[in-house]
Symmetry: C2
Subunit: 420 residues, 2 copies
């Protein structure tokens, strides 16, 4: 046993490295959850689109497709729940997971409403707008959950791709909202001014999300996204069309299906980009875990070499630190070599961590707007005793009326509350 005595300095150096490995492994888990949630969001988006179409039409032709899409979403939900079950059972309480677990509870709670919603849609007891907003809130809570999960990410390389993916999923969800919203317009044949403003706000928000994606995405995903240019232009043209409608200047209801097809093509194309990002994310996680494992192995080896050499001579000279008041200085060169290695490792490790922290800060800044919006929403909830959804709607309305983004409104609200 005494041969295995590890000097405390080295023990903590290795422990620090092990913590980094642990953080990477837990980040890999987070990435897995993001991918599963992305899959569920995609399925729910499809279901929302078809639900809207079904509720706005009068025949029941859409029912079988709707039922199938519901089953797809239920499968994706089941997969995500299985992951969450393992997560809950597998890990002890971690100090930094409270916010995340709270978001999980919130998302799960909204998922409970799905079966009832599906019945309501099937039986036409639910209005198109009510269905849309329930789906949209559910998706928003899933997005809040994965954004919160990403908040404890500590590796900058992985986090860059993760942030690209999160923003792309968010951008795709906003595209999904455009689709659902457009269906309402084309079914009616026109958009009111309020509806036009709402559509414009969706487009602006989507562009912001996609901008963050392009800032952090790896080349393959970027290329795939640029390949979707044609679909994007087609969608934009139809949006411009809606923008020129009014109660007296309508477009034909037949355009609904064209719109739906175009949007669906674009969303499916975006789903491919999402898949590429998910793949890149998994690869980057694996790469960083392998690197960190190797470095940890190298260090353990170095340490063993030193302790072996030392124990062949007189271990108590070099490594005994508890009784270190002993007056005899180490007489061999091992203590000195060891000391140099420790200084080198400490220096290298601290510099690396500092660089990572800097890189992380700049990636995280892109998540700040989202946090501000969440924060402002909860400010309204607590001040005016609103529900989460009411608070969100109020912010959205103020933003629309003022031609501002949700982020701007959130910033204003938070500034005002600071001045109180």
């Amino acid at each position: 046993m005494s041969n295995n005595y590890v000097p405390p300095t080295l023990r903590f150096l290795l422990a620090a490295r092990r913590c980094e490995l642990h953080a990477l492994e837990s980040l890999a888990g987070t990435c897995e959850l993001v991918v599963l949630a992305g899959k569920l969001v995609h399925a729910l988006q499809k279901e929302r689109g078809w639900s809207n179409l079904y509720l706005c039409s009068e025949d029941d032709d859409g029912l079988p497709t709707l039922a199938e899409l519901g089953r797809h979403a239920a499968d994706a939900e089941h997969e995500m729940r299985r992951y969450l079950d393992d997560l809950d059972a597998g890990s002890g309480p971690a100090s930094d997971k409270a916010h995340f677990f709270n978001c999980v509870a919130s998302a799960l709670h909204r998922l409970e409403a799905l079966p009832g919603l599906r019945r309501g849609i099937r039986d036409r007891r639910t209005s198109a707008q009510e269905a849309e907003s329930t789906f949209t809130d559910l998706i928003a809570s899933l997005l809040a959950m994965v954004f919160e999960a990403a908040d404890s990410a500590l590796d900058p390389d992985v986090t860059r791709i993760l942030v690209a993916l999160l923003n792309f999923i968010q951008g795709k969800e906003l595209s999904g909202q455009e689709r659902a919203y457009g269906v309402v317009g084309f079914q009616a044949g026109y958009f009111t001014e309020v509806q036009k403003a709402r559509m414009a706000a969706l487009v602006a928000a989507r562009n912001r999300s996609v901008d963050v994606f392009t800032q952090f995405a790896p080349p393959a995903a970027l290329q795939c996204w640029e390949g979707l240019d044609q679909q994007s232009q087609d969608v934009q043209r139809m949006q411009a069309m809606l923008d020129n409608t009014s109660e007296s200047q309508r477009v034909g209801v037949a355009l609904t299906e064209v719109w739906l097809d175009l949007c669906t093509q674009r969303i499916d194309g975006m789903r491919n980009v999402e898949n590429l990002l998910a793949k890149a994310l998994a690869q980057q996680c694996e790469k960083r875990i392998a690197e960190t494992r190797k470095e940890l192995g190298d260090r353990s080896l170095l340490l063993r070499r030193f302790t072996d050499r030392a124990s062949g001579k007189e271990p108590s000279m070099v490594f005994r630190v508890q009784g270190r008041i002993a007056d005899i200085p180490p007489q061999d060169g091992i203590g000195r070599d060891m000391d140099r290695s420790i200084v080198d490792i400490l220096r290298e490790q601290t510099l690396r961590m500092q660089d990572a922290a800097d890189a992380l800060t700049s990636v995280r800044r892109s998540l700040d707007e989202r946090k501000q919006i969440e924060k402002a929403k909860w400010l309204l909830v607590s001040r005016y005793h609103l529900s989460e959804q009411q608070a969100h709607e109020r912010m959205q309305r103020v933003a629309m009326d003022g031609g501002l983004s949700l982020g701007d409104i959130a910033g204003q609200l938070l500034n005002e509350s600071r001045e109180d």
Copy 2:
């Protein structure tokens, strides 16, 4: 077993609360470490003061006291190491501990140099300045360790007192540096201009630390600090005396002991404030842990009440979510009550976490300057291949020459590097 089925939403709500409890318990551990490190710092400060005195004098009268102070410091070191040993052995790798463990390694590595330093002082092979700077660097690494430990604190009430304590320990350390530095001056009979500037910088830095302490300290500690006013004024008067010296206008060497006594009185008085803070900190931790435990208990009870009532009827109606595609809506009122409770708990829990996060942000802002200094130091280390100590000295020199604080210099360095 199926009677114990817990709906996932509630499970994650409780898991979030358990994470908060875990975070508080781990914060209580951090507070314990801060208190142990504070004790060691205090012992090292005394040893540094007497070492300085011994090395600047020519007789060996101080040796027995010096040996005794060395033993005291070794005891405090032993106590802290025992805590760290338990920490390393007891906890698995936590994602957020890598930086902290690295700081522990760094502090432990510096502690290894203590026995050699003590021999060097005893045998007069070490100069007074060398001894002072080795002690000071060691204390700085202990402070870096506890500041880093505090960085993952998540409870605002506890963190306020913790930040007050950390800054007070830092302020006391700066007082200790003033004492050691003054000894050099009174022994020589005068201060050079550079030495005067250095003393002024120490005083300014100490005032800043104490300001943060007064901002966050509980009343008892504040009162105790205000009671030290007389000692502070006496020390200031002697500092003013040194400020009026020059090579041609000296003061008597006999003043050294007066200075040392006054400073020691003040530092011992500060140690009492520190003890009050440590006590308040332990109490606050205990209080918050008891509150969180109680809340967790209440929630578990609530949950059990619901599951008991439900399982007396038809559990699969209300709680089965895996097979939730089932078409039958819950027929009793329990589902609805349960739902309301969950919504209430979710809302209350999220609001509370949001408030805590806000309060925490404002407490943490006070730690920013320290972080900037650390960051700027490592920037110099990596850019100019300096040692940590060289980098720190270079920043200190530039600050002194420009009449600026270390924080100002750090800010400038970081800004310049951003512009590159």
